[in-house]
Amino acid sequence: MAKRSSEAASTDIDMTPMIDMTFQLITFFMFVMNFSEAEQDDRIQLPLSQLAKPVDGPVDKPITLQLTSEGSVIYAGEMIGVRDIAGYLEREKSFMLDSGKDPNTATVIVRADGRAKTGEVQEIIKICQEKGFEKFALRAQYDEGR
């Protein structure tokens, strides 16, 4: 008994299983974490489509315009009106020309809410066309369940 009580002064817990588990957790969260800078906004409820399979690779130099159900555009984190995007696109275009890129090779990703008006989506496309952009991608959420 005397020997035992002297041992109890520092109780040794076997840490190995806990550390194993913890590292498993770390690796899990590391792999699950998404480093891609996909612009997603909770304010937008994308329409569902079975054909909207995730894109293979990241789109080269995309411009993402998000249209809310109330009809305002979220561009680079800012909430602006549909007709105000022209100025921002103009800036984007001159920036592209400065860096030696052709605006009509750039893709404009339109993330529009399913409840938004179609006319507003078309207006966005029209404004982009007037600025020289001609490749558009209408984004939808992949619908797995039939």
Binding site: M33, P47, P54, G114, K117, E134, R139, Q141
Partner: protein
Amino acid sequence: MARRESQLPDKIHIDMTPMIDVVFQLISFFMFSLKVVSPEGDFDIRMPLGRAANAVVDDQQVPPIRVKLSAGPDGSLAGISMNGNPVADFNDLQKKVVSLVGTGRGPDSLADKTEVEMDCDYGLNYANVVRAITAVSGTVQDGQIVELIKKIKFTPPKADQ
């Protein structure tokens, strides 16, 4: 020396506390920065300004299929028509498109050359447009996407009523 060696414990105790601290910091960092990303996909549309709406159709080109989506007062879908003929729903639209372009696929097939022009009311809910695009651009059979028409364009927007 001999005395010292003999007194060394068999098991060396490493202080795990700092390591476990750091490890838990890492776990909490990854946990909190985790953002659940829902899978998204794109419908590609190429629309240069020049020939948006009423481009001249030359002989080589197949005339476009005109899909008209009309909206009710609240933005819901009121009616679909294809080339002027009424269509019951999106499944019907797909059947009619298949009967028009056939099932041939490939770079020179009719489906590849045909273009769909969407004519939508201003107030129509955008989700209906995506459903229409889904109907004309392909079907899912046994988990595989069978492509139909890839070229999709819009008529110019009408004025806001």
